[in-house]
């Protein structure tokens, strides 16, 4: 028994690079050999899905991209899933960006979903209004008058020449807002300055770390559900029945979490042995 304990103790003081290696493999291997764990939607994700389902046909939906490449793995699967859902249900999508690099993300998502998968026509089914600097001032500006802020869209077309922009003058003209947010400016600003004052319902998808900040608003009903990080995206993909990057990442995510938990348990076993031994002597 003592020998076993010695072995465990020795393993417990292992160089942290071994931990790095194991975590790396725990993430990498499931990407090559998927397990196909079942995905079950949480209440918050279900709320987002229900909110989108509740929209009447041909609704006008504002989707705002507030994330960049460094948080792309968490948020991008959500926006792709949401766009698929919106286009399947035949809604019109208006895209804005509060982050400069959000525009690149929006271009990518729209090309993938609207152009390649759904073959929709720009200006009639979807429009990319693009990035404007000014953080929450942009949100406030859109609430009072979109046309003052956006005279042209991201591709340089005059907004007046875009068919689907007819009758769209301010945020209140939309039926739904979705904010895909990785920080400031993001969901909080949309809720404070756009959704709360105008009463247009809003849903959100955020990075895991931000969920803590937004959750009180979901509980109070200011926000219709929340997609929390990559697992949130995977749950949404499962709800709309179109598995994507989120779903394929979930096996890696589950395994990595399991490995970390095992590390913690193992660390505590060595700690336990150490304490017992120090008591003996």
């Amino acid at each position: 028994m003592d020998k076993l304990f010695d072995l465990i103790l020795r393993a417990g003081t292992v160089d942290r690079r071994w931990i790095f290696l194991v975590i790396g493999l725990a993430v990498l291997l499931p990407l090559f050999f998927p397990l196909g764990l079942p995905i079950r939607a949480t209440i918050a994700t279900q709320k987002v899905y229900d909110a989108v389902e509740a929209l009447e046909g041909n609704s006008k939906v504002l989707v705002s991209f507030e994330y960049g490449p460094s948080t792309k793995p968490e948020i991008h699967p959500m926006t792709v899933g949401l766009l698929k859902h919106l286009f399947t249900n035949g809604h019109q999508v208006y895209v804005t960006c509060l982050w400069p690099d959000g525009q690149f993300m929006a271009e990518e998502a729209l090309t993938e979903v609207a152009e390649e998968e759904f073959n929709l026509s720009y200006g009639e089914d979807y429009v990319l209004l693009g990035f404007r600097p000014g953080n929450e001032a942009v949100v406030k500006g859109m609430v009072s008058n979109i046309r003052k802020l956006y005279t042209t869209d991201a591709r340089g077309t005059l907004v007046d020449d875009i068919p689907m922009m007819k009758n769209i003058n301010k945020v209140a003209d939309f039926d739904f807002i979705f904010s895909a947010s990785a920080g400031y400016p993001g969901t909080v600003e949309w809720v404070q300055y756009a959704s709360d004052p105008t009463g247009v319902p809003i849903s959100t998808g955020t990075t895991s770390i931000q969920v803590n900040d937004i959750m009180p608003m979901v509980n109070s009903g200011q926000v219709q559900g929340i997609l929390a990080g990559m697992p949130g995206a995977a749950e949404y993909e499962a709800l709309i029945g179109s598995p994507g990057i989120g779903t394929s990442g979930m096996d890696a995510q589950s395994i990595a979490h399991l490995v970390i938990v095992l590390f913690i348990v193992f660390g505590n076993i060595t700690y336990f042995i150490e304490v017992q031994r120090s008591k003996k002597y």
């Binding site: 968490e74 003052k148 770390i209 109070s220 990442g249």
Partner: protein
């Protein structure tokens, strides 16, 4: 075509830090510091100074080449990319009040000379004063008043069950109330944490710890997702469309790092006297 190779190299170079501090990481780190400084300098200039400052001082909407003010502007026109002909069209009106931040900005730049370094103080004082005024109100409103309102729940609400794991319940509301008040007690500075007060503040710490644990759990989730994203990119770059960039670079780096580790070992055995224990 060279882009993905560079991207794959930089990704691997940063990851190599996990093994140890090495020349690849040092190159990537220094490059990153340099590029990002240049990136943000350009970004700030083109999204703040040019549109929001110059765009307000010389807006295209009020352009009039007879005015002395715009004559001066035309002189600046040698930098045509920053000061295009006919004023700057960024949707602003002329607001000469913006000469004030302009002046503070110039003073900030002048403070580079050590004799004039006091000039930066004005800008600093402005920044601190503004932050203090805005944040004092904002935080008092959302962090204090907003949270007090959140805690004043309805005890006599017949719609709520007494106990429920999912959703709101009276029991849950009490948990939140007790946690909030005892948690606040932990932050008392002018009282020794002993006796009943100490026990309550201890209970408060327990709530804080649960909260920290929950945040930590969420953070683990987010960070792992990001790593998945990085690996997916690397796998993309290892495809034949990119000439298997990832694989080649990985191989080259492992060889070089392995060689340097080997060389280090030999050096170490030569230089250092052996110590027996």
């Amino acid at each position: 075509m060279i882009g993905p190779w560079i991207a794959a190299f930089l990704t691997l170079a940063i990851l190599s830090y996990l093994y140890k501090d090495n020349p690849f990481y040092k190159v990537a780190e220094h490059l990153f510091v340099g590029i990002s400084t240049g990136y943000w300098t350009s970004m700030f200039f083109w999204t703040q100074i040019q549109p929001n400052l110059f765009g307000r001082l010389w807006p295209a909407t009020e352009y009039n080449s007879d005015l002395l003010w715009y004559k001066f502007y035309n002189l600046l026109g040698i930098f045509s990319s920053v000061f295009p002909d006919g004023g700057i069209n960024k949707g602003h009106h002329m607001e000469l009040l913006y000469l004030l931040p302009f002046a503070l900005g110039i003073m900030m730049l002048l403070s580079v000379s050590s004799k004039l370094s006091w000039m930066a103080r004005w800008g600093i004082a402005y920044t601190v004063g503004m932050a203090a005024g805005l944040r004092a109100y904002g935080f008092l409103n959302s962090n204090v008043l907003g949270q007090i309102r959140g805690s004043a729940f309805q005890i006599f609400n017949s719609d709520l069950p007494f106990f429920a794991l999912v959703g709101e319940s009276t029991f849950n509301n009490f948990i939140i109330l007790i946690g909030t008040i005892t948690g606040l007690m932990y932050f008392y500075f002018s009282r020794e944490h002993t006796g009943t007060f100490g026990r309550l503040s201890k209970l408060g710490i327990y709530f804080l710890m649960i909260s920290f644990g929950a945040s930590f759990g969420f953070a683990v989730m987010g960070r792992i997702s990001l790593l998945i994203g990085r690996f997916v990119d690397l796998i993309t770059y290892s495809g034949s469309a990119y000439n298997h960039a990832t694989l080649w670079l990985l191989l080259a780096m492992i060889l070089l790092l392995g060689y340097s580790a080997f060389a280090d070992k030999n050096n170490a055995s030569k230089d250092e006297p052996t110590i027996e224990k």
